[in-house]
Amino acid sequence: MSKKLDPITQDIMKIIEEYFKDRKDLGELAKKIYLIYLEKGRRGLEDYIKEVMENVEQDIEGRT
């Protein structure tokens, strides 16, 4: 992913921020998902969701 975002991506980032102005955590998640998809495509996004789910498993194991 280029460090400088293209105008459409910049627009999308702004819209996401506006949309989730009361839920910044969700805003960050949406941005992350968008950028992962741009960078790594559908498979990359699926891998990310799997990773998040694995983290849920490991976090709980760590706590217990």
Partner: protein
Amino acid sequence: MKEGLKLESIKIEGFRAFNSPRELKFGDKVTVFLGPVGSGKTSLLKAIEFCLFGNVSEVVERAIKQEDLINDFRDRVLVSLKLVGEEGNKVEVTRIKERGKRTKLRLYINGKPFDKGDPEEFIKDLLGLNLMEFARGVYVKWDVLRDLIIGSPSSRSKALDKLFGIEVLEEIYSAISLKTIERKLKEKEDEVNMLLKQVLPDDKIGDLKLERDEAIKKIENIKTRLSEIHSEIESLSKKLVEMQALQDKYNQLIQERAFLQAREESLSKSLQSIPSPGDIIEISYLLRELKKEAIKLLSALIVGREVESLKKIPETDVRKLIPALKNTVKILETRLEDLEKEITKISNEVITYQNILRRIHENIGSLTERLEPLRTYRDELFFLNEKYGSLREIDNSLHEMKLELSELQVLRREKREALNLLKATIRKIREKGETRCPICGRVLNTQHLKELETLLDNLLKEKGDILIKRVSELESRINELQKIRDRIVFLEEKIGDLSGLEHELKELKEEAKRIGNLATRGEELLKELQTKRNQISSFTKKARRIMERIEPLLAAQDRKKELENIRKRLKEVEAELEELGYNPRLIDEVRNRLSELRVEMASLNTAKKYIERRLNELETILARHEKILGIVDSEEKRIRTYKQLYEKMRLVRYSFRAIQSELRKRVLQRVVKKANEIFKQIYVYPDYAEINVKVVRRVSEEGAIRSIYEIFVKRSVDESWVPMDTRLSDGQKTIIAFSMILSLRELSPCRLKVLLLDEPLLNVDEECRKAWVNMLGKSNMNFQLIVSTQDRRLVEELIKEYGSDIVVYELKHNGIEGPIVVQRKIVDSNNSR
């Protein structure tokens, strides 16, 4: 480097349709790849995408695998692109991909290898876009163009969404799979329900815990009792060891007492016949005599040390004297053996001397006989020497005589020759009257004849008398002397033997005397040794006899003493037994107690094992129960987290739909504005003045609500907005579509000043084609246009428009080697006109 970049050349090998290497240069303005279907046109455009980003959008979208980019007959891809900047900087990007391996990147900036960080990031930064942005804004595929120009409103909307980057949001919406999380949630809930079925009721758990605590208490009690038993066993074991030691001592004393009693009885019996005092006095006397005799003998044998030790022993100390005498007897017996050997040796020597002496006397007799005749020769020699002198004098005389005889013989020969000459001369004078003298050459005649005859007579007289007489005499004398000489030589030789024999005889006599002396001395020594041997032999026999008598007496004395000792020891043993105070009953009591304790201990251990086993079972059940509760707890926490995650993903997923609408509005606003600028620039006809795009919501065939773009154009005549689809020709639609594409390209600030068009005008009519080419010529586009097409007429139109500014490559099929690429020569028709 922050400057616009264009493509200079490409090198391609092993990529899709291209097997053998090819290298092509791009035109500064327009480059066209012309060829039939499957000739490799699209491969060239894909190669540009692969080289710049290391991948192609179809691989990212999982339409194909990266390995599919490798030519079927090759195992390796190489694509190299040269780019040139507006300020003259040069960039060379090379990608190498081998089957089963990762793609390698080589990057050169102005001929130098790049070494200032991540080259992939550098390329993206240099170009100002990534792969997806490239696929959307730089590389426009035929299906997008087709949908824009002649597609249905739905397909046109999809194409525009793709160009605007909005389609990605829809893709993300569908890619966020909530079902995965739902499935996981379901799994977790089922798992928790299953585990909850295994959870025991609280009263049951209470009973088990109670049983466990009781088992622990029982085990503790058993351990305490076992510890007590162990201590008692230890104490009793120590006591038993002590008692066993006492028992051993007791048994030992009893055994000793029995042995002593038996020995006492035996000794008492054997001491019934004790020797008389008279015997003892006699023995003492004999021992004294024996000692004196031994000292004398030892002194004679020069054994000083033994003599001294024997002398020191008092005659009354029989016990010391007897071993000393025994030792002396032993020494003497050893000496006796030596003497016997010495006597044998000397006896043999004396016999040998006597034999030698006899042989010497025989030799002396023989020599004396041989000497008698030799002495007669010595007398004869003496006589001959007296008469003729010594052998040397005879040799001198013989030598002188032989010399004289030799001289006389010479003289006789000379005279004979002179007579013969004289006779010959006389004969010649008588025959010839004269002749020359054979000696001086003088002429002799008859006058000299008489003189010569007188001379002849004188010579003949001399010959017959003196000379012959003397020669005869000499020969006789030499012969006689020679015989005498031979006799003297013979006699001298014989006399030489005589002196040798006389010397030998003398030596033999001396040897006989010496051997005689040795024999005499040997005989004397022999006698002396024999005397000594007889003395020693007599002493040892006597000593042994006396010893044999003394030993039983001494043994009896010893036994008596031993008996006294035994009786004393018996009294001591009895006293010790009494003092020991040993009681066999006590040890049995201790043993019985120990046995009882061990039985109890075994029983307790069995009980302890049983309770421990039960305790383990209880602990396992309780631990398992605790574990299940723990798992249930953690799984419930997970379920809560998954639910939170599901809710978040659900909200985010639906947000992408809302974001699409908002984005569409914003993008459209910018694109329509820019597209109108371009449209006004390239559309020169007065009928239509402006473009507008509206978004309407419609239900699709699948029943889903979709946003559809409707394009309107402002009619100049009445300034009303009419729909593009129903009012405009395909040519006009083409111009509007490219206005939008170019506006998007203009709005994207990337530094790669290139536009790739893959089959831009597929299935369009002549009017459309001409309109598009005309539009390109009129636009102020500052992009490098790279077009792939199978439409020859389109190429002809482009050549007409661009002249020598266009580069056209014609591609033809060529089997497994890959396409043949030929650059077409362009004649600038504008210039020629």
